[in-house]
Structures are given as structure tokens and as C-alpha cells.
Amino acid sequence: MAGLYPAYPRQTLTALQTLASKETHRYMRIWVQTLLPPAITMTLYFVIFGGLIGSRVGPMEGYSFMEFIAPGIIMMSVITNSYTNVVSSFFGAKFQRHIEELLVSPTPNYVILAGYVAGGVGRGLCTGLIVTIIASFFADLNIHNLAVTISVVFLTAVLFSLGGFINGVFAKKFDDISIVPTFILTPMTYLGGVFYSISLLPEFWQHVSLINPIFYMVNAFRYGVLGSSDVPIVIAYTLILGFIAAGTTLSLWLLNRGTGLRS
């Protein structure tokens, strides 16, 4: 498998379809654990922060508080769900050892990666869609720029699926799959301008926010939906694409070395 072009293109594609559909079945089969919780949590966010509290918070950047937080909350669920899906599915496969089904097969490493990422993106987008539908009951969301909205959410889902994959490769026990989501992803998302515009922050904290990549993604998505952003969206695209390139390279390198997979 030296060249870029696969030696067995049709078979390689079949392997990819098989893995992607297996991954899709997995989160669909356990929808009570995967799709339902974000629907409930996000409904609560909308009711509490948007409805009850939001009515007392004035407009944010000229939008009602509900309108302002909806895009952030959608992105938050996409990020968490893409990441969680891949890290738990991949670690589960290692733990139960059925990852060996793939390792003994001729499925190339990049197909293994693509298959898991497809599962993560699928669940991320599915959740995103569910949350969007819920949000539309609470706020009028007229998509300002559809191309930006869709591309940002898709690329973000790819990026965090890759993140989940790398986490899954290194994870040795169940604790290892929740450390990053709990201690890194959640704080970064909350501080990434989901609930506020950074213009509300003291200058120092505005600068700190600018080193948080999630901040750019949330803002780019908010631009797609509302047409307003704290920062230029081209920075967001550059960051996301850069991280995707780095994440893909690292994942493939780990797979080729067999880290955590082949003794």
C-alpha cells in the first residue's frame, strides 16, 4: 500500500462502507445513550438560559439572548458528540478486542481512520440537527449563510472526531476516555463564547479567549447563522483546516506504528 491510489479500490471502498455503517449502527442502536441526552440537556439550556434568564438579559450584539446562544449550543453538542462517539467506540473496540477484526483484515489504516471519523461526524451532525430543530421552537433562526454554516459544522465534526480517535488510541482504561472531555473540552467550550460575546469580558480575558480555538469555531458558526462574529471567520477556517491536517497526520502515524493496537 505504498502509493496514494489503493491497489484494490473497489474492495477498499467496500471496507470503508462496512466500517462506516457499522459505526452508524452503533450510535443508532444505543440512541438512548447517544442521541437522547443532548436533546434533553439542550432543551433545558434553551428553557433556562434562553427563556427564563434570557428574557432578563438584554440583547447581545443586537440579537435576543436566545438567538445569540442557539448557534453556540448547537456547536457545543456537535463538538462533544463527535468526540465522545469516536473515543468511546474506538476504546470499546480495543477493550473488547474486536479491533482485531480490522487489524487482521486487509483494510488499510486510512480506511480505519476514515470509518471511525465517519461515525463521529454522523453522530455529531445528527445531534446538531436534533438540537437545531429544538432551537427552532425557541428562536427564529434564519440561516444567514448556508455554505458557511454547513461547512463549519462539518469541518468541526471532522476535527473533533479526529481528536476522539487520538484519545482512543492512547486510552488504556475507561477513565482515560473522559479526562479530555471533562477537563479540556467542556471548559474550552463554555469559555468559547457559547453564552456571551467576548466584548463583555475585561480586555485581559478577551486576549485569553483568542487563544481558544473553539472560540473561533463557535463564532464562525454563529456568523453562518446570524451574520455576526467577534472575529474574522477566515481565521476560523484556517485553524480548523490546520488542526484537521495535523490530527490526520498524527492519527495515521499512530496507526502505522500500531500504538496501543499491535504489541
Binding site: 500500500m1 457499522k22 487482521v104 483484515s105 486487509p106 483494510t107 499491535r262
Partner: protein
């Protein structure tokens, strides 16, 4: 061209355990080859390197002439692996497991379904096709792993202790199944602790101990070798003046010491009559320890179907 050829294979695990030392092994197409050895001998490690679950420290592996690193698609497509421990998704159904495995080998969905049905029927699991795999009994789980290993119709089937923890009846029917597969042309390699299993199924046999292949032969010669005993005799006649003893294998050790092999069907009395007839006087005799026999005594100890202990 060999079905499997291992050259100068070495494996030292990250923890420092050297599990394989200079393994050279050739298995011919159509063979039914047994790898016999005690716990921790390195059987699973050999199989792991062939199935690309273990990265060898050095050496190379070829399957039907395809190097597993250089032509992975061709090499891997020719191997079907039944691992020692259950390694399927506990939440997927029997049919999903087998059909998906076919997909990973690039077999389209329609063919995959047909093949899954064929092999699940052959292994008497078709009635369980929609059951989640965790609901199967131990014997059914083993058969599921066999069906999964066959779904891409590999030319080389490798089974790592397929009959461990399986009752006598199922063991017999698995033996019959494997014999039929072999008659239909599939090359089979299996590992086992049981000499009886190797004796009943295999033609070629390799004995592995401490990471080395200490014997690579056919079952018949192994049995002859196992049943023979060797003795070291001190004799009064100088070795070079000794008459021939045609019925026995005699090996001069030094001036007045010889080693004599007594095969299974011969007796010590026959040996001494022959020595007596030849006028050879024996002053002392020692039973030479037989490495193979010692190994088998040890294996009998570990091969008992006792609950798995912490031996690794």
C-alpha cells in the same frame, strides 16, 4: 511456494520478555500442521506475527509467497484467524459480526450475506443469527469465530487452541469439520496442548518451547521418537572394536561409552540379549534424559482442563 514461511523471526515484547527466538518454519499448501507447546511457549505470539497483531522484532513472514508487510492485501486475504480468546463485539448479532468481517475483506454486501449464511449453517449457528453474540454459549462462540474466519474463504486457516474449554462431543465435531476443510484444500495450522489432538488431526507438527522450535517433523516420526528411549552404556570393549548391533541405533560417545536407542516396540531384554550375543560386557547403564519426553510430561501438567490459572 509455501502456504506459510517464517524466516528468522524474533520477538521481544516491550516489557523485555523474549517470546520468539530465530523461528524458521515452512508449512506446505494443503498441510494440516500442529504447533504443540506448553503455556507461554510462544504459540500465540507466532500466530500473532502471522496475523499482524504482533510486530516482530526482526524476521519476515510470507503467506503464499506474499510478504505481509509488502503485499498486505494479498497476504492478509489469504489468512483466516480463529484467536485463542473471544474477540468479537458483545453487542452485535452473530450475522452482523460475520457479514461485517466479509466487508472488511472487501467483499460486497450481497456476497457477504450469502457467505455468512453458508458458514453459519455449516457451523450450526444459523438459528442464532439474530442473537447478540454475548448470549451464545462458549462452544457457540468458538464456532462463531470459525465462521468469521472463513467468510472470506482464506487458503490458510489458523486456529489458536480451538478446542480449549470445549466438550468432547463438540471437540469431535470440530475435528471432523476441520478435516473436511483440509480435504477441500484449505491449509490448516492449529496450536494445541494436546498430543492427542495433534495426533488425530495433523500431518506436520512443530514443537515449540521457550520461544524456539525444538522439533519440526511429521506426526509419525514424532511418535516413534517419543516412544523410544536412549541409554548411555559403559562397556569393556573399546568402541572401535565393537561389533555391529543392527537392530539398535548405536552412537559412540567416547572410547568406552556408547549411546543406544531402544524404540517403542523393543525391550531392554532384547537389547541385552543382543549385547550378550555380541560378547559385549556392560559395566554401567544410565537412562539418558529425553528432552522431548520431559517436555511432554510438563505439558501434561499444563494441558489439563483445569481452570485457567495465572500462568501466562
Amino acid at each position: 511456494m509455501n502456504a506459510l514461511s517464517l524466516r528468522q523471526l524474533n520477538k521481544t515484547y516491550p516489557g523485555g520478555v523474549t517470546a520468539l527466538r530465530d523461528i524458521n518454519l515452512e508449512v506446505r499448501p494443503g498441510d494440516f500442521y500442529g504447533l504443540l507447546g506448553p503455556n507461554g511457549a510462544g504459540k500465540t505470539t507466532i500466530i500473532g506475527t502471522v496475523a499482524s497483531l504482533v510486530r516482530p522484532t526482526s524476521g519476515n513472514v510470507e503467506v503464499f509467497g506474499h510478504d505481509i508487510l509488502r503485499d498486505p492485501w494479498e497476504a492478509k486475504s489469504n489468512i483466516g484467524l480463529v484467536p485463542q480468546e473471544f474477540n468479537f463485539n458483545q453487542f452485535e448479532t452473530v450475522a452482523q459480526i460475520v457479514t461485517n468481517q466479509a466487508g472488511f475483506y472487501g467483499i460486497d454486501r450481497t456476497t457477504a450475506r450469502e457467505r455468512a449464511e453458508k458458514y453459519l449453517r455449516e457451523l450450526d449457528l444459523w438459528g442464532k443469527r439474530d442473537a447478540p453474540s454475548r448470549q451464545l454459549s462458549g462452544g457457540m462462540k468458538r464456532r462463531l469465530m470459525i465462521a468469521r474466519a472463513l467468510v472470506h474463504e482464506p487458503r490458510l486457516l489458523i486456529l489458536d487452541e480451538p478446542t480449549a474449554g470445549v466438550d468432547i462431543e463438540l471437540r469431535r465435531s470440530m475435528w471432523d469439520f476441520l478435516r473436511r476443510m483440509n480435504e477441500r484444500g484449505t491449509t490448516i495450522i492449529l496450536t494445541t496442548h494436546y498430543l492427542e489432538e495433534a495426533e488425530s488431526l495433523c500431518r506436520g507438527i512443530g514443537i515449540i518451547d521457550g520461544g524456539r522450535i525444538i522439533e519440526d517433523t511429521d506426526v509419525r516420526s514424532l511418535l516413534t521418537k517419543l516412544k523410544s528411549q536412549s541409554f548411555v552404556l559403559d562397556v569393556t570393549t573399546p568402541v572401535n572394536a565393537l561389533p555391529a548391533l543392527p537392530d539398535f541405533g548405536v552412537l559412540p560417545l567416547d572410547e568406552r561409552t556408547i549411546e543406544v536407542e531402544v524404540r517403542g516396540e523393543q525391550t531392554l531384554t532384547e537389547l541385552f540379549s543382543a549385547l550378550n550375543a555380541a560378547g559385549v560386557e556392560v559395566t554401567s547403564m544410565k537412562n539418558k534424559s529425553n528432552r522431548l519426553e520431559e517436555l511432554f510430561v510438563r505439558m501434561l501438567g499444563t494441558g489439563n482442563p483445569e481452570p485457567q490459572s495465572e500462568t501466562a
